[in-house]
Symmetry: D2
């Protein structure tokens, strides 16, 4: 089986990462990639790492451009995919949005955090949130997938076992997260210049970040009740990688090894979640370029609190890789197809 794939907006980091993954996918034929600003230009002229791997030119972004596709990935800024979704679905295509247009169930919450009206709120109920570790069966049948954000993927995977089992208090959750600079996108912003953010470290958006409602929505489904989360993102002077340090108050004294077993059992069949041995400290580089999320669970001083460490590559499991994993599920092929790359280390 060969899946014919197209990409809307392929000039950002998630777009070029999709190109990297799809170019090496054994069952995908890349049909089209659009960019308003780069139409006509060879893709590998803009991204020389793709020389010899991608022969396409950027095209103007029109729905007609995707007529030959089975699936369309949208790797655009927030608010673009929802302008394409209805037409593509009606034409029988499947769609995976890597931005936030379909992540939040409640259009009002979307509009509050993203500052724009939703173009097709009627699709929100149909859209499947693309976290395979939670929604695998629904994803197999999905026409429209909302690919999770980078922070939400790491935070949800790390908290899921604890919330599903009721082992942590839902009112005192903390997610202290750290991201490489590619998470801010490829836009020309002074704050993300090397001379501004190298050899430095800072928190940002402590007052409120768009990923918090998305994370809370997922955690509440897992917990079955509302949760109270403090989410503090930080910028790390590195290119790729997210490290989530998650804190929770235990609701009871766990048995010896119970926390470790809980995590191992929860993810035993997951191809892309790796629970490390007790006492481990995952490094973001251990997943560089791969779709794996590695987790370690700690209980410092055998006290009342649990600490989960989660790492992922923000552009792979946090974006393009998870999108490919979702595509694999949607088309009934091997879930790991095209995603067996060994992380690049050092």
């Amino acid at each position: 089986m060969t899946i014919k794939a197209g990409i809307i907006g392929g000039t950002g980091y998630t777009g070029v990462e999709l190109l990297r993954l799809l170019a090496g996918h054994p069952q995908v034929s890349l049909q089209v990639i659009t960019s308003r600003g780069e139409a006509g230009r060879r893709v590998d002229e803009r991204f020389p790492n793709l020389r010899g791997h991608v022969g396409l030119r950027f095209q103007e972004p029109t729905p007609a451009a995707f007529s030959g596709c089975d699936v369309v990935f949208s790797a655009t800024p927030n608010g673009v995919a929802m302008g394409y979704a209805r037409e593509l679905l009606d034409a029988g295509k499947r769609m995976i949005d890597l931005a936030a247009d379909f992540r939040l169930r409640d259009a009002a919450v979307f509009e509050h955090w993203y500052g724009m009206p939703h173009a097709c709120p009627e699709l929100l109920a149909e859209a499947v949130y693309g976290l395979p570790e939670v929604n695998r069966e629904a994803l197999r049948a999905a026409r429209l997938v909302a690919n999770p954000g980078c922070y939400p993927t790491a935070v949800q995977l790390g908290f899921l076992p604890l919330l599903e089992s009721g082992l942590v208090d839902t009112t005192g959750l903390i997610a202290d997260c750290k991201s490489g600079v590619s998470g801010a996108g490829r836009g020309a912003q002074v704050a993300n210049l090397l001379a501004e953010c190298a050899d430095s470290f800072k928190a940002y958006a402590v007052g409120g970040h768009r990923h918090r409602p998305e994370i809370e929505q997922g955690l509440e489904i897992a917990a079955g009740v509302a949760v109270d989360l403090v989410f503090v993102p930080h910028l790390v002077p590195m290119i790729r990688g997210i490290h989530a340090t998650l804190y929770g108050q235990l609701t009871r004294e766990p048995r010896d090894g119970e926390l470790q077993s809980l995590f191992e059992a929860r993810f035993a069949d997951e191809p892309f979640v790796d629970v490390l041995p007790p006492g481990s400290h995952p490094e973001t580089r251990s997943v560089r370029g791969s779709n794996v999320c590695r987790l370690a669970v700690h209980r410092p001083g055998d006290g009342s609190r649990v600490v989960v460490l989660a790492v992922e590559d923000n552009l792979v499991k946090g974006a393009a890789g998870q999108a490919v994993q979702n595509m694999n599920l949607m088309f009934g092929i091997e879930e790991t197809a095209g995603l067996t790359l060994v992380p690049l280390s050092p």
Copy 2:
């Protein structure tokens, strides 16, 4: 007034940073610097940044080497300073230890965390913990100063106003800390090679870190009761800088602006603590090379939790700069002498 200063063990990062600061100090005459391994070699041959500023050669580390000094800084690994302290004090010198030998009041705690017997436990009661924001008056009279650790400085300064005022619950404190690699010292360790830690991020020592008892000791003095702290340090791919993200549960609803006012009032007269305007996110580079600790206090979503962000240069306010500040206090000169350097940014 000219203070004659000596340094025991000047080849690590805190040693060379002391040299940088003392070389530019208007009231210090650098007399001697020792190093077993480098004795006889010019200091500026090892550290070319000091060419034209430091003309000394390393000497063998003997107590006699310091006979001409008024004050001796010990910038050695843990366990060395306590071998010199009695003799230096008896000879009428003052001593500032930048390692951990005199930081913990309880010799048993020291021995547990540092894995060695204490050589002069009788001096622990006399030693003054060198955090001027807490112990300024005691420092003016001190003969022996235990210069605080890098993490403990940032964490204590950030939590102090909250604990002293009783505004946070003492049982649920979290210090999620991030340090540049120079914090690990200048020893040749594979884990700190650029090819191992650049473009990556990790937590370490989640199970227990030597700075936790030191931090708890200070927080308990501030709170007047025992505290329960979870402390998770992380390694940032940068040279200098510490960022502490501190979390606490508020004990009551604060008034509008109360948190900001609390921090501003607490540090109003402190020359090296800078409380940023509401909504700020301090960057470590904003204090690079300087003795300032910058703080910002947040209450995300006007909720029940407070988040404090604290940055410092781990080698300055977290080590050598604070040692010089302590020296200034001990000798009755201007507290800021030699420490008015403008941070280097970008």
Copy 3:
């Protein structure tokens, strides 16, 4: 004596570096700093490293703004200073331009490389090229100083002894130069994002760079004849620093130690040029934050070619520091005033 100083355009890297240096200069009173985009805003709000050191607000850039100044620094993009020069000089001010407006003697060459007509070509003959190691006496009397470019400073200092002594062939010079990213300025450009240029290395502008005519002009004055130079700049994933690797063909067999002696003698009285011992390899970090240029001269395999290694901080000796050195000379104060900072290392 107190020099009243103003800055046109203080929001780029050379501007904020000037602020850092002038704020710590014992004989300067900073009067005014302008910025069209930031007028009214506190300087230290934009640059938090200056908190406690610079209390000014940005002002609108009008010539009247500088009425109280003795000297005006222009830290703007190319082409701005020449619009201010005539009026400021007529008002009795002195001016130091950190951009390229007055560096090239020939207005036609300026217009070719910078793509704009020159606004006051009649001032080109009066302007003094601000390389104190060549033009010290002229600088003492100068009203208008053209502060050299960052690459030209390192390349000229490295080649000067060889060209002045006739020891290298003028037809085969090569300057393979490497610069940190701050050299590209603080403008928002995709190519200078951390995610684009960290963990990577590239050459640029091999076909032609604006600094080549400036370098050639200086080298030709030193050599007394035309020179043929190949200049290849490269981008290094670091914030500050330039490393020039210079190659020349020897015109005769030098005597033992002659090259080293030549360099030492040429710069014996220079406060900011440091000739390293034979066999040395200067690191850019050894001059970070300082006005020093360090040089080493090599003759690999005792062959027919000479290799000079030169390092400087591109924002200090390559820009703002050299401008302050020039100001010191123009006003007859100690040449090193405000410039005795110890480089920050690590």
Copy 4:
């Protein structure tokens, strides 16, 4: 066909990179990997990026360990492979040495530069220098391959077309090379700590580097006469990547486009050499993780000198990838097998 492969000394960077590549190679079965210091330990415990990809444990390094192998890679320090070569070849194995033991044809030159006697000089004549772009046919039949050094690969590929065609003077060659820190290996050395080499740049070994005789040997074969090369390596604060900037004096005026055509023709059939369009500046990140060497040729100012820019991943085309390419040739399988990875960018 499945090739059974073993690795001597798999704990350095070239070893772990071999593991990454061989783990994903469709026609290789990894049999054994040895390490004296790590024997018994799981490989993926030391290198967590290999979790799920490599299930082996390190074994003691004995020749018997390789009895089941068709080919043995030696990824050890210099001087180790020559102790294994005779026995392995006699046992019918093929061997690829990634160190320098068999690179130099002249044992005396080896002994001069590597400071040890050669253990089996009689094998030097048989060993094939593993640069497929030069020795492809000989490699197909080789029993013993000397895999080129990282710098020599980039420098030779860049100079080959010019020397083979006689377009450059052989007496004035310059290779100004820049390497990421992984090129220095995984040994614990202070100079390679992040805090020592990040945010800095330096040259090293200007007086003489072991790769110069290896490069000269290759260039002389290409030129047919002796060459005079100045080789200056530099350390770049990045993990992977080599950039060679090569300078030569043209022996005659080239025709329009002749240089570009020369390079394109020379490498037209090479799967791993990519000649970029005129005016290009290759970035090291464009080959990160891949076996490609990208080249660009320039003639600045249409003058008498040619500048070649060459980039490679020092651990892939400069080490492990080239070794796999050689293995593919030796065993008659597709030359690109296991090496079609898309470079990771950003």
